[in-house]
């Protein structure tokens, strides 16, 4: 990534944008939605918030125009330059202009307004063109692919270099909620950590902490610190789809593996390693396995366990071999019956989550030593 000379950026975290006119190619509501969606993407990875201004001057003024339009860079008819925007600053700083001679769409045909706007707003926020052909800020537009999160890690590194990350403590989100427009869709309400009905999608250790995944959010907690941190999964790993099925950490490699459906990602901190997602079959699991319920890395034995319904496979990292056949969970872990939601290792115990229950299992004695509530770790 690169920034403009002198690294101009907005000093404030709440910015106003105004749409001065509309292209006849699209319904105004579609233009509003595409512009709003573009700003929301930048919000999801920075502390920045954007408010739509209807009448007065705004930081980012958005307009559609053809050919010469009162600045030094006239447009050039269909194709060629499709839009441009200016670095943060007063007057026309931050403004974004879209070439009316393009055919603006909200589909993959023509020129997708959301995708172009996302790039141009990158300039409005201070990013310059990137040399990375995969980056959104690469100057040449590729066909828009709605199935892929549009920000590349290069873009996220760039914008967070200028503004830092998005806030990931719940209180921050609540504060920022004050400045949102009333009609902005609310984030899914987080379950109460002390509710007796609390269940998890996945649990893993994570750099000395424990990470509990639930729908679009996660809780992070250090075993010996009372405070609990909460955040959006997408703010940590924007390219991950919502919801995590299973997760495990290999501490000595500082790598955490996250599973969703028949794919998995390997992350290091908040960075998804290149080459992911991959299909779970490359791990050696059979083709009829489409989803993993839970997984954990047994540090003592150097084995990774994959739990599916009432069976599990184990993969031995040292001799790189996967079980040919699955085994019954209750045979290897007496007292643990049926499908499990999540599992992780803490010190010398394994903690299995099944609905509203949590089983502390002693692998040495091969038996359950305590029956706990799922919210045991949250000091309710």
């Amino acid at each position: 990534f690169s920034t403009f000379a002198g690294e101009p950026k907005w000093a404030k975290k709440v910015l106003k944008y105004r749409i001065l006119n509309y292209t006849p190619d699209l319904h105004p509501a579609d233009v509003d939605a595409a512009i709003k969606k573009a700003f929301n993407i930048w919000s999801s990875v920075t502390p920045l918030k954007f408010i739509k201004e209807e009448r007065d001057h705004a930081d980012i003024m958005i307009s559609f125009a053809a050919r010469g339009h009162n600045d030094f860079i006239p447009f050039d008819g269909p194709g060629g330059a499709v839009a441009h925007a200016y670095a943060p600053g007063r007057d026309f700083g931050g403004d974004a202009h879209f070439d009316e001679d393009e055919t603006w769409t909200i589909s993959t045909e023509g020129t997708n307004l959301f995708y172009v706007a996302l790039h141009e707003f990158g300039h409005s926020l201070g990013l310059f063109h990137s040399k990375d052909p995969e980056a959104l800020m690469y100057p040449i537009y590729r066909k828009f692919d709605p199935s892929v999160f549009p920000l590349h890690q290069d873009d996220i590194n760039g914008i967070q270099h200028l503004y830092g990350r998005s806030p990931n403590t719940y209180s921050d989100q609540r504060e920022s909620a004050e400045v949102k427009e009333p009609d902005e869709p609310k984030e899914p309400a987080l379950p109460d950590t002390c509710s007796p009905d609390l269940t998890f999608d996945a649990v893993t250790t994570f750099r000395g902490e424990i990470m509990f995944f639930k729908d679009t959010h996660f809780w992070r907690k250090h075993p010996s610190v009372r405070a609990v941190d909460v955040g959006l999964i997408s703010s940590f790993w924007p390219r991950l789809p919502p919801g995590v099925d299973a997760a495990y950490e290999v501490p000595e490699k500082d790598e955490t593996v996250l599973f969703k459906g028949n794919e998995f990602w390997v992350v290091r901190g908040d960075r998804i390693l290149p080459g992911y997602p991959q299909k779970i079959y490359v791990l050696g699991l059979p083709k009829d396995v489409t989803k993993i319920d839970a997984a954990f890395y047994n540090r003592n034995k150097g084995e990774i366990y994959f739990f599916i319904v009432d069976k599990f496979w184990s993969y031995n990292k040292r001799n790189r071999s996967m079980d040919r056949k699955p085994r019954q969970i209750r045979e290897a872990f007496p007292g643990i019956n049926g499908k499990i939601d999540a599992v992780f290792q803490h010190k010398n115990f394994f903690y299995f989550f099944h609905g509203r229950k949590q089983f502390e299992f002693d692998p040495g004695k091969k038996r359950v030593t305590r029956l706990l509530k799922t919210n045991f770790w949250f000091r309710c």
Binding site: F4, A5, I73, F75, D76, G79, G80, A81, V82, A83, H84, A85, H97, D99, E102, T111, H119, E120, H123, F128, H129, K131, D132, P133, P139, I140, Y141
Partner: protein, 81 residues
């Protein structure tokens, strides 16, 4: 047939000249700029552009280069003027 090739080549040169002026702060200072030698201004600029866009750096108007620069793009320059 040779005439068509020549015309195409001239169109290509004209296109790349405008592209370099718009996005790579290329300034045309007389005919010497267009002498296609290895160290001529335009060859240097084409190399700079190819390097920025991740193309093979040939300094020539090869088909890959011509294909890419004819794609839609952001109107902001790649090199600060």
């Amino acid at each position: 047939f040779p005439a068509d090739m020549r015309q195409k080549k001239e169109e290509g040169i004209q296109f790349i000249q405008i592209y370099l002026e718009n996005y790579y702060s290329f300034t045309k200072d007389g005919e010497s700029a267009f002498i296609w030698k290895n160290n001529s201004p335009i060859t240097k600029k084409i190399k700079e552009m190819q390097e920025f866009l991740g193309l093979e750096v040939t300094g020539k108007l090869d088909s890959n280069t011509l294909d890419l620069i004819q794609q839609p793009r952001c109107g902001f320059p790649d090199v600060a003027g």
